[in-house]
Amino acid sequence: MAEEEEYDYTKIPPTGSVEGIAAGAPEDSPRIGVYVCHCGINIKMVVDVEDVTRYAASLPNVVVARHYIFMCSDPGQDLIRKDLAEGRVNRVIVASCSPRMHEPTFRKTCSDSGLNPFYYEMANIREHCSWPHGDFHKEATEKAKELVRSAVARSALLEPLEEKLVDVKPEALVIGGGVTGMYAALDIANGGYKVHLVEKKPSIGGHVAQLSRTFPTLERVASLLTPRMIEVGAHPNIDLMTCSEVEEIGGYIGNFDVKVKRKPRYIDMEKCKDCTPCIEACPVKDIPDEFNEGLSTRSAIYIPFPFAVPPAYTIDAEHCLLLKEGKCGDATLETIKEGKAVPPCMAACPGVIDFEQKDEIEEFTAGTIIVATGYDLVDPGVSAEYKYGVYPNVITSMEFERLLSPGGPTGGKIELNGKEPKDIMFISCVGSRNKQVGNEYCSRVCCMYLAKQAYLAKEQLPDADVKVAFQDVRAFGKGFEEFYGDVKTEGVFYMRGLPGEIYKKPGSDRVVVRGENTFIGEPYEQEADLVVLGMGLAPNKDVKSIISMLKLSTSVDGFLMEAHPKLRPVDTATDGIFIAGCCASPKDITDSIAQGKATASGSLLYLVQGMAKIEPAISQIDEEICIGCARCVDVCPYGALELDEVRHVMTVNEAVCKGCGGCNSICPSGAATMKHYRDRQVYAQIEALTEITDVGMLAELESAATAAVAAEASAGAADTGSEAGEGEGAETEAVPGAE
């Protein structure tokens, strides 16, 4: 019939139904309703949905099969609700998109109508069929039928499951004390809950503390940020841990067990008066000051910047002579103890410096976790043609921020080696939007910070020639395009085209930028005494351990991956763990704060309720069969299994188990099975797909079945078009129902 003619999807009506062969089946037997979705034309264009519906109606236990243009819409869900209300069906299958997309939707449709949501099953005929097989209408239709057949086989064997609740410890952990982490912490703290804020550096503030003024309003960052930083430092609900890093995290939503290592400052923070005699006394003076991007130096005892929070000094153990070499002047740890010789810093400030301080481990339990670890600047060496590090006139944008900052190495004066530049050139997209350096993404903020920097340069040096070489100007935010206009009317010249290279002008200390002004199609050689590279933002290299501890995933660009790029931007695949700010993707302060606050609200949802649902599709040990060999303990990545020494059988911690199926596949006696993924449910599915009736062969499929479980759960990775991270991160993807 349909095969004969050319398939014309426009002829398919928006809806239709066919009575199933089991229409007369008794009430207590499985009565399956199959609902085939067109997804507008996404599925219908390729898959003959009418044909699939007819086919579904012919399968065992199917009472009714319907198709509809949008099953997820209200009228679509009504089809299911109505069939349930009339007692027509007691099992529901929607053949539509990925479970990642709409399994929660349809499970809720079922539970709202009184059906246990685990009687719901999904056949993915979009991501796994119509999308990848767009050119193969006939084959795709056949495949869709097979996927439906497989779902029907499984559906008949499903069991009802009860969702359990766990208590949530009303405290949150925030990792990273940049602007994002600060705002997340403040909202939760102001909401009345305790926050542990862990920052690896001696002060909070992150990169924003280094900035001069902010686009597009040109407000001074110090004056915007300082009050918030002080608030964080003083908040009774915030337990601020600086110079600290998370060592270990275990547990599960509501009950994450956290170990934090607090490194010593060798200063009694209570007593430090935030003065300067110790700095003057310290003989080590030539350490590149990281806060000033190496444009100035500091001593071994230091405060990162004047408005640091907490406002206390730190001794840098890597450079302090006493800590590194065992001796400063005549003093050693021994002489200090004996009360004989003390180092100059101690002499200058008696009673505050304490070299006996050691690493401290702090342990606590947190209900939710927010990761806000920010970004690193891209290494300017990646675009070697711009000669960063070769010519001192070529600096990064962050270095330029420091030159602009009143608290910076030049007191806010734009100068290089004491000289005011006359010709300044800014270059956009350095290390971003560049396949050759491995960063394909746009760093999003550099267009605007370059506009800001160029404006500030022109403001301070009105006679200077200030140019921006760019390829596109992305002025996406509120007031940005207007600001960009202002910058240009102020006299900053925007020249389109990414420069090709930079060389030193022979016999001079100036450099020459070679490029093409693409608007007029003419190459130029532009002399400059200062070139500022608009560096991109890269994933923070330091979060590897956090990624593995929390089993997070990263996207192809290396940034942390959200549960869904559109719909769940600050959630992760694990309940109770959130990501925000630049650790997830480059963004400006406004967006970082918005995300910080979004994660606070996500956390508060759990903290306020004091409860969280946990996934019921987890491991179950049949105590009758378990021989207590404990082999499963070794494979469980979450530590959810414990041997009951008395009864010599394995037990599952239901809150910890994520249902990954590792125990299921290793258990030699077959005692460990997965709820919702019972062997017989999975085998039936495979059997239906492969039409294998030979029972002997089925046994061989045993290992394949486990793989299928994993595949089903990891469908998510393919569906969102993202990539699971390497190693530990990837494992998260294989956890069924980790959402």
Partner: protein, 185 residues
Amino acid sequence: MGTLYEDMVAYGGEVFGKEHMETLRECVQCGKCTGGCPSGRNTAFRTRKLFQMALTDMREEIFNSPELWFCSTCYTCYERCPKGVKTTDLIRTIRNLAAKEGHMSVPHRMIGVYVLKTSHAVPLGPAQMELRKAVGLDEMAPTAQKYKDQLEQVQTIFKTTGYDAMIDFDWDTMNLKGMDKGGKK
């Protein structure tokens, strides 16, 4: 014949692979290629513009402009293109297509003549034989220039691929046909 882009993908794709050629479409006209191009700052050749012209199918304009031959294939742009456009290989592909349509100068065609005659683009003369002897080498290196059968192998390749016809080579005079008339273009 399709559009210039299609022809490039089909023709260059055979040698470099289609993906290599398809990078042309990724060009964002950033100008970084021209920005560091030694030709760009000395001639009217604009790498970036060439790619836009190729994508807009300005075949005749490209083929008829002398600038097409002012790229030294230095690969500077190839190394720096942020989008990974395979610039220099695309330029060579466009040139191949131009040459096939007869856009090839006499001096360029003469290089083929030298190779067909001697197996070398830069042939050996009596003066250079003396130079060789001066540094203690045999007066002629034992390359195909020395052995007729070896030279014939090179000639066979040129005949098989039709390079001889492409440059209007005359096997009788062992020179370009119609040299007296100044060649084809």
